[in-house]
């Protein structure tokens, strides 16, 4: 194997494994604090997720949303920007899909209605994402601050619209949409019965393939990554940095918005205030653990979805909040392991090459 490729692969893959070990040890300690046997709890967690069709369906459902928000964060990071606004963009996307579904006449055939609703989700998320893009490109406003603040603004705005304009009385959700819903996977594979897994997963897999292709096989993706690595150098080479930032953040927002389809069109058939439940913030963890690579993002999304669904499975033995603690620990562990692993590996390579010269 090409040694440089091998180094890059090790740098990418090692930190998540370090984090996994740290999380397992921390999890053991917490489980023991609660007076339970770690081995049993972990086994129940796995059986409740990958061990039966319902649990697995729930994992797939949760991973679908997390893949979207993870991809969103990963695309922005590839462009050297940190989109912390996936939470708000996800909510906006869900609202866009619901709004489109409510607006379409009830007889609209699914072949037209579903793509329109998905498009509405992409547009709504993309619109929210474009705000930090414009402010960054035009005024140099730091996208981290803008996206954090925008989360609160978007969520408050949606809360206002839903609670005072569009809700079903006594609830915080919109009426059910009449057209544009996506069927559950259980319609085809009976074993998934009861789980929320739905055909949105196909759309999201296509999105993963498209993002991979865009990032690594197209000129636009090359420019995006060049801007992410070294903006002045990219500019010198003729890339329009500001425009690339705007494109990257808009695409990032659209991808997060796509996640809203999973809940709104595929699960509940309505937009509900607070449906995001932190999936946008968890997207940061997914991108980090997935090392900003589309394939890694999918694997990381499955991992975090397993944790989150597994929390419900073990709730009778240990409070399910243990998974939130573990999520935090995994993120901190990966974030600290990334620079550390790079230092250790590069020092080792440097020593080896020095040795080669000496002999």
């Amino acid at each position: 194997m090409n040694p440089r490729f091998r180094l890059a692969l090790e740098e990418a893959v090692l930190p998540p494994f370090v984090a996994l070990v740290v999380a397992l040890v921390a999890g053991d300690l917490l489980i023991i604090t609660y007076g339970q046997a770690p081995g049993t709890v972990w086994r129940v967690l796995l059986e409740g997720t990958w061990g039966n069709a319902y649990g697995f369906g729930q994992v797939l459902y949760k991973a679908t949303t997390l893949t979207c928000t993870g991809l969103a964060v990963a695309v922005s990071l590839r462009a050297g920007l940190f989109n912390i606004g996936a939470e708000g963009q996800l909510a906006a996307g869900g609202f866009g899909a619901a709004f489109a579904g409510l607006t379409l006449p009830s007889g609209t055939p699914a072949l037209i209605a579903v793509p329109l609703c998905v498009l509405a989700a992409l547009l709504a998320g993309g619109a929210v994402g474009s705000v930090p893009g414009v402010l960054r490109a035009k005024f140099g406003a730091h996208e981290v601050i803008v996206t954090i603040m925008l989360n609160f603004i978007v969520l408050a705005l949606l809360n206002y619209v839903v609670s005072s304009r569009l809700h079903v009385p006594e609830t915080l959700h919109t009426p059910e949409i009449r057209s544009g819903t996506v069927p559950r996977l259980a319609n085809l594979i009976g074993a998934f019965h009861g789980s929320a897994a739905n055909w949105t997963i196909v759309v999201v897999v296509l999105a993963v393939v498209a993002v991979d292709w865009l990032l690594f096989r197209t000129r636009a993706g090359y420019e995006l990554r060049a801007v992410g690595l070294q903006p002045p150098a990219a500019e010198y080479a003729g890339v329009r940095v500001g425009a690339t930032w705007l494109r990257a953040l808009t695409l990032s927002g659209a991808l997060a918005g796509l996640g809203g389809v999973n809940f709104v069109l595929g699960y509940k058939s309505y937009y509900e205030d607070g449906f995001t439940g932190g999936a946008g913030f968890l997207g940061i963890a997914v991108a980090l653990v997935g090392r900003n690579h589309p394939v890694g993002v999918v694997l990381a999304a499955l991992f975090f979805a397993t944790l989150s669904q597994g929390g419900l499975a073990i709730n009778a033995m240990v409070p399910k909040q243990i998974v939130e603690v573990l999520q935090g620990i995994v993120i901190i562990a990966v974030a600290t392991a990334v620079p550390e692993v790079r230092r250790v590996l590069r020092n080792a390579v440097a020593r080896r090459t020095r040795g080669d010269i000496a002999t």
């Binding site: 981290v144 603004i153 940061i284 939130e324």
Partner: protein
């Protein structure tokens, strides 16, 4: 509505913001990103309830709350300074971790997923505005920004904080122990922000799940809106708290939907960083590790 009542209510809302914003301003001036304020506050609130519940003393609660803040600060500091981890990621993780760990121990210590039993606070027998004056944390909160302003602007430690936040290499070249100064700043920021949580918990006489409810981010907004200057950040805290008070007082009138008032701090902060009126510029080395 009397002016006095308005003032008292504003101060009551502003105290947690003032503590957290002081912590945020200190850490950020030392070059460490402070997305962690929300988590620090939550940790402080939970620590205070643990301490006050088991000893029956608000003062012990205060100490335990600060201890929790220091612990969270230590995690942030070690990850960001020793390991040079991405400070934004660590911040997000600490907030997530704080929500999880407080819920976990809430379940473990009190067997509840929503709130702790009632605890004692600092309030005296006097009710209303007078109780506010009897609370030592109120006085501390009102003094924290002027004090921080003095520390950052007039002391040797403050000069070092500014130096490591603007140009760590230059600071190191004249013998400033960059990492030590940053450790001190982040630990102090954990303790300060935790005090905001301590105040909340003692004021409400209990811990409730995720009780900080975004206050750490309003404090961060105040720091940015105040352009990383302690006194201006303090004024921003009072401004945001005043807007909230107004909204609560006018709630019955239904002039503006509450959601729009809630947006004010965030919208003002975006305007401030976009630089429409007097650009808000962060410390030069914010978020960058020292080599």
């Amino acid at each position: 509505m009397s002016v006095l009542l308005f003032l008292a209510q504003t101060i009551r809302i502003a105290i947690p913001y003032l503590f957290a914003a002081a912590g945020g301003a200190l850490a950020e001036r030392a070059g460490i990103v402070s997305l962690t304020l929300e988590g620090f506050m939550l940790g402080g609130a939970f620590g205070a309830v643990l301490g006050a519940h088991y000893t029956g003393s608000a003062w012990i609660g205060l100490v335990v709350g600060i201890w929790w803040g220091l612990m969270f600060g230590a995690v942030h500091a070690v990850a960001s300074i020793r390991f040079k981890a991405d400070q934004i990621v660590v911040g997000v993780a600490i907030n997530l971790f704080a929500v999880g760990i407080t819920r976990f121990f809430l379940q473990l210590a009190f067997g509840s997923s929503s709130n702790s039993p009632r605890i004692t606070g600092f309030d005296s027998s006097a009710g209303g505005s007078a109780a506010l004056l009897a609370n030592p944390l109120v006085w501390l909160g009102l003094l924290v920004m002027p004090a921080l302003n003095f520390v950052i602007g007039r002391t040797r430690f403050g000069l070092r904080v500014r130096a490591v936040g603007e140009h760590p290499q230059a600071a190191a070249s004249v013998g400033v122990p960059v990492n030590r100064v940053r450790y001190a700043a982040v630990l102090a920021s954990g303790a300060l922000a935790a005090l905001g949580g301590v105040y909340l918990a003692l004021d409400q006489h209990q811990f409730t799940d995720s009780m900080t409810a975004g206050r750490g981010f309003i404090a961060l907004a105040a720091v940015i809106f105040g352009r990383w200057h302690p006194l201006r950040a303090g004024l921003a805290c009072l401004l945001f708290a005043g807007a909230e008070t107004l909204q609560i007082q006018l709630q019955t009138a239904q002039l503006i939907p509450s959601q729009f008032v809630a947006m004010i701090p965030y919208a003002l902060t975006i305007v401030a960083v976009a630089g429409v009126v007097g650009r808000s510029t962060p410390p030069a080395a914010l978020g960058r590790g020292a080599e």
